[in-house]
C-alpha cells in the first residue's frame, strides 16, 4: 500500500498523523458531499424544454435553514478539529518532558551546526562534540534543543519526526523531540535562506543508547598525543561554530 506520509519516527509523530487523518476524514466527507450535491444540481436542473425555473429567493425561514443547518454542522466540525488540534499542539509545543539530553542547534548559510554534550553530559565544557550537518541522538530519549540562527531565517525540518521549527536570529527557541526508531533521517531547511537554501541539509542519526554513548566518547576523545594529529580527527572534534565552511562576508553588514 502506498504510504501517504513518511514513516513516523517520534513520539508525537503519531499524534500529528492522527490529527491529519482526522481532519482529512472530516473535510473529505464534506468535500465529497458538496461536490456530489453540486454535480447533482448541475445535471438535474440543466435546461430542458417545458421546465422553466422556479422563483426561489431563499428569504423564507425554511429556505434559510437549508443553508444555516449545514453551516452549524460545519461549525461543530470546526470546533472538534480545533479541540483535537489544540490538544496535539499543547503536547508538542507547550509542555516540556524532562530532557535526557540537551543539544544546541544553529542554522547558518548554509549548514546546520549541532553541539552535543560530551561524555560529561553537559554543554559548554571542553568535551562538547560540535558537528556540521550531523546530529546524533539516542533512541527513546527526550532531547531538548535550543535553536538559533546566526544570519537569516532557517527552519529545522525533519519530516520523519514531524518536527519543524524556524530559527530566528536574535532569539533562542527551545523545543523537544523523542525519536522512536533507529536509523538515519534527512535534516532539511524549510525556510528560504538564500542561494544554497535548496542544498542546506544534514543527517540525523538515531542510535541505540550504548552506540550513541560510544559515538560521543570517540568524537570527544582528545586527538592522539603524537604531535602530528590526523587531520580528520581534529576537524571532527573541534569544528567550531565560529569557523563555518561557507559564511558569506556578512559580518560587516550586521555590525553596521
Amino acid at each position: 500500500m502506498f504510504d501517504w506520509l513518511p514513516r513516523a519516527a517520534s513520539t508525537y509523530a503519531h499524534d500529528i498523523d492522527g490529527l491529519i487523518w482526522l481532519i482529512t476524514a472530516i473535510v473529505g466527507v464534506w468535500f465529497i458531499l458538496a461536490e456530489a450535491v453540486l454535480v447533482f444540481l448541475i445535471v438535474r436542473y440543466r435546461r430542458r424544454p417545458g421546465h422553466p425555473a422556479a422563483y426561489v429567493t431563499g428569504d423564507r425561514r425554511r429556505q434559510v435553514a437549508w443553508i444555516l443547518v449545514p453551516c452549524v454542522a460545519i461549525l461543530a466540525c470546526d470546533l472538534i478539529i480545533d479541540g483535537a488540534s489544540a490538544h496535539v499542539w499543547e503536547k508538542m509545543k507547550q509542555t516540556q518532558p524532562k530532557p535526557e539530553l540537551e543539544i544546541r542547534i544553529e542554522g547558518r548559510q548554509w549548514a546546520w551546526i549541532f553541539v552535543h554534550p560530551g561524555p560529561d553530559g553537559r554543554l559548554d565544557t571542553p568535551d562538547d562534540v560540535v558537528k556540521m550537518n550531523e546530529i546524533h541522538v539516542p533512541v527513546n530519549a527526550v532531547v531538548r534543543f535550543a535553536l538559533r540562527s546566526s544570519d537569516t531565517l532557517h527552519s529545522l525540518w525533519i519530516p520523519e519526526l514531524r518536527l519543524k521549527q524556524d530559527a530566528v536570529p536574535g532569539r533562542t527557541i527551545y523545543g523537544w523531540f523523542e525519536a522512536t526508531r533507529t536509523g538515519s533521517y534527512g535534516v532539511l531547511c524549510a525556510e528560504l535562506c538564500g542561494a544554497a537554501h535548496g542544498m542546506m541539509r544534514g543527517t540525523l542519526t538515531v542510535d541505540e543508547p550504548d552506540v550513541y554513548r560510544g559515538w560521543v566518547a570517540a568524537e570527544a576523545s582528545p586527538p592522539p598525543a603524537a604531535g602530528a594529529a590526523s587531520p580528520a580527527t581534529t576537524s571532527a572534534a573541534s569544528t567550531s561554530p565560529a569557523a563555518p565552511a561557507s559564511t558569506p562576508a556578512t559580518k560587516g553588514a550586521i555590525a553596521r
Partner: protein, 564 residues
C-alpha cells in the same frame, strides 16, 4: 480641417491618459493579461527545472541557486500583485461599478487615472528589475528579513530595492482605486437604488476595497522600513541593532492574509452575477451572502498568524489563531451553499461564463477544505512550507483569480467590446483549463504530504522521503497544458473584436444596469441616468411573460422611486 486634426490629436492623447473608467478598466485588463503570461512562463521555467533536476532548462541553463529563487519570487509577486489585482479589481472593479450603479463615471475620475498610471509605473519598475545587475529579487514574494534586509545574505542589491519600490507603488495605486470604488458605489447610485439593490459583485468589490484599505497601511510601513534597513542603515529587522525579524512577518501577513479575501471576494462576486443569469433564477439568500461577506472580512483581520505557527511566536497564540482561521470556513460555506442553492430548480444553460462559474465552485472547494489542514496549528507543523501548502493556495487562488476572471470576461466581453465571443473556443478553453489545473496541482498534495519542501530547485535529493519523479513530471505536463490551453482564449479574445457576432445591449437577457447601456457604452455610459425599481435578481418572477425583469424597468403605473 485643422480643427479636426487638433481634435484627433487631443483624442489620441485622451485615449491614452483617459479618465473614462471603461478605458482605465481596459488598461488594467491588458496590463494584467500581459503580466499573466510573464507569470505563467516563470511557472513553466520552475516546473521544467523541478521535473528535470540538474539539467538545463532550454535557453536558460540550469535554473538553480539565486536564479531559481528569483524565478519563484517573481512568479508569486507577479501573479498576486500584477495579475490578480489588476484583473479582478482594476479591470472588473473599474468597468462594472459605475455601470452597475447607474452613473456616468467614477466619483474621482482623475484619481482613477492616477491610480492606473501609478500602477503602470510600478509595472515598469518591477519589469526593469529583470535587467539590473544581479537580476530580480530572489528573497521570496514574502520578502522575509534578514534575507531581504541585508544584501550580503541574498547576494542581491538592486533587484530587491526595485522589488520593494514596485510593490509599494502598486499598493498605493490600488489604494487610490479602492477609495474610488467605495465612494462611487455608496454615493453615486442611480435614483431609487438602495444598498440592497446593489448587485453582489459591487458589494464584493466594496468589501474587498475596505479590507484592502484597512490592511495595506502596515505593509506599506513595513516595506518602507525594509527599504530604510537596506539603504539608510536603520535596524528595524536587524537583531544586532535591536530590531526583530518577526516584526516584518506580522506586518506582512496582517496585510497578506486579508489580501487573499481581497482577491477571493470579487471572484465570488463575479460568480454571483453569472449563476442567476444562466439558471434564470434569483440568487439564493442575497442577505445571507452579504452578511457572510461582512463576517469573512472581519475575521480575515484576525487570522494572520496562521502563517507563523512555526515562526517562533509565543506558542500560546497558536490556538486562538487556529480557531479564527478554521472558523472562517463557516461564512465562506454560507456563500458557497447559497450559490449551490441558486441552481436548485433552475434552468441551467451551459454557456462558457457559466462553465467557468461552476468550475470555480468545484475547484475552490478543494482549496477551501485543504485550508482546514493548514489552519490547524499542530497539523501545520508538518505541512508548513511543503508542497502541500503550494497546492492548497493555488487551489484557493486560481478559482477566484482565473476561473472567475475567465467567467467574467466571457460574460462581460459583449459589453466591453460590443461583440460576442465564440462558444466552441470558449468550451475548449474551459476543458483544457479545468483539466490541467488539476493535473498540475493534485500531484503537489502528494509531494507535500511526503514532506517535500517548497522553494528548492533540486527535489531529487529528497528521494529518501519517497520517489516523486513521476509526480514532478505530471505537474510539469500540467503547467504546459495549462499555458497551452490559453491559446483558444487568446484567439477568441482578439479574434472576436473584429469577427464576433454583434452583441446588442443585453445579449444574456440580464437585469443589472450595465445591460441598459449600449455595447460598448459611450463616454458617460447612459443616454439618460436610469431609475431603479427593484433588486438585480428578479428572474422567472411569477406572473410575467419574460423571465427577466431589469432593475430600471418601471412597473406598470408606478411612480419612480426618486419621486417617492
Amino acid at each position: 480641417m485643422s480643427h479636426d486634426g487638433h481634435a484627433e490629436a487631443a483624442g489620441l492623447w485622451s485615449r491614452i491618459f483617459s479618465t473614462d473608467h471603461k478605458v482605465i478598466a481596459k488598461q488594467y485588463l491588458f496590463t494584467g493579461i500581459a503580466m499573466a503570461f510573464l507569470g505563467g512562463i516563470l511557472a513553466q521555467i520552475m516546473r521544467l527545472q523541478l521535473s528535470n533536476p540538474g539539467h538545463p532548462v532550454p535557453g536558460l541553463g540550469v535554473v538553480q541557486g539565486i536564479k531559481y529563487n528569483a524565478t519563484v519570487t517573481m512568479h508569486g509577486t507577479v501573479m498576486i500583485f500584477w495579475v490578480a489585482m489588476p484583473l479582478l479589481l482594476g479591470a472588473f472593479g473599474n468597468f462594472l461599478i459605475p455601470l452597475m450603479v447607474g452613473t456616468r463615471d467614477m466619483a474621482f475620475p482623475r484619481l482613477n487615472m492616477l491610480s492606473y498610471w501609478t500602477f503602470f509605473l510600478s509595472t515598469v519598475v518591477l519589469v526593469s528589475s529583470f535587467l539590473v545587475p544581479g537580476g530580480p529579487s530572489p528573497v521570496g514574494w514574502t520578502a522575509y528579513p534578514p534575507l531581504s534586509a541585508i544584501p550580503a545574505y541574498s547576494g542581491n542589491t538592486w533587484g530587491v530595492h526595485l522589488w520593494i519600490l514596485a510593490v509599494a507603488l502598486e499598493l498605493v495605486a490600488f489604494l487610490m482605486g479602492g477609495i474610488n470604488y467605495i465612494t462611487t458605489a455608496i454615493n453615486l447610485r442611480a435614483p431609487g437604488m438602495r444598498m440592497r439593490d446593489l448587485p453582489l459583485v459591487v458589494w464584493m468589490q466594496i468589501a474587498a476595497s475596505i479590507i484592502f484599505l484597512f490592511s495595506v497601511g502596515p505593509l506599506v510601513a513595513g516595506a518602507v522600513m525594509l527599504l530604510l534597513d537596506r539603504t539608510a542603515g536603520t535596524g528595524f529587522y536587524n537583531p544586532a541593532a535591536g530590531g526583530d525579524p518577526l516584526l516584518f512577518q506580522h506586518l506582512f501577513w496582517f496585510f497578506g492574509h486579508p489580501e487573499v479575501y481581497v482577491l477571493l471576494l470579487p471572484g465570488l462576486g463575479i460568480v454571483a452575477e453569472i449563476l442567476p443569469v444562466f439558471s434564470r433564477k434569483p440568487i439564493f439568500g442575497y442577505r445571507m451572502i452579504v452578511w457572510s461577506t461582512v463576517v469573512t472580512g472581519l475575521l480575515s483581520f484576525v487570522v494572520w498568524a496562521h502563517h507563523q505557527f512555526v515562526s517562533g511566536i509565543d506558542p500560546r497564540l497558536a490556538a486562538p489563531f487556529s480557531l479564527t482561521t478554521i472558523l472562517i470556513s463557516v461564512p465562506v460555506a454560507v456563500t458557497l451553499f447559497c450559490f449551490m442553492a441558486t441552481l436548485y430548480r433552475g434552468s441551467i444553460e451551459f454557456k462558457t461564463p457559466m462553465l467557468f462559474a461552476l468550475g470555480m465552485m468545484a475547484v475552490f472547494l478543494i482549496g477551501g477544505v485543504t485550508g482546514i489542514l493548514n489552519g490547524s496549528a499542530a497539523a501545520d507543523i508538518y505541512i508548513h512550507d511543503t508542497y502541500f501548502v503550494v497546492a492548497h493556495f493555488h487551489y484557493a487562488l486560481i478559482p477566484p483569480v482565473f476561473f472567475s476572471f475567465f467567467a467574467g470576461i466571457y460574460y462581460w466581453y459583449p459589453k466591453m467590446f460590443g461583440r460576442m465571443m465564440n462558444e466552441t473556443l470558449g468550451r475548449l478553453h474551459f476543458l483544457g483549463t479545468f483539466l490541467f489545473v488539476n493535473v498540475t496541482f493534485l500531484p503537489m498534495f502528494v509531494m507535500g504530504l511526503r514532506g517535500y519542501p517548497r522553494r528548492v530547485y533540486d527535489p531529487s535529493q529528497f528521494v529518501a522521503l519517497g520517489n516523486m519523479g513521476g509526480m514532478q513530471i505530471l505537474a510539469t505536463i500540467g503547467t504546459a497544458g495549462l499555458l497551452f490551453s490559453q491559446v483558444p482564449l487568446l484567439i477568441n479574445f482578439f479574434g472576436s473584436m473584429k469577427r464576433g457576432r454583434v452583441a446588442g445591449a443585453n445579449p444574456w437577457r440580464a437585469n443589472t444596469l450595465e445591460w441598459l447601456a449600449p455595447s460598448p457604452p459611450q463616454h458617460g455610459n447612459f443616454d439618460e441616468i436610469p431609475s431603479v425599481y427593484r433588486w438585480p435578481y428578479e428572474y422567472s418572477a411569477p406572473g410575467r411573460d419574460n423571465d427577466w425583469y431589469p432593475q430600471h424597468v418601471a412597473p406598470e403605473g408606478a411612480l419612480s422611486r426618486k419621486a417617492g
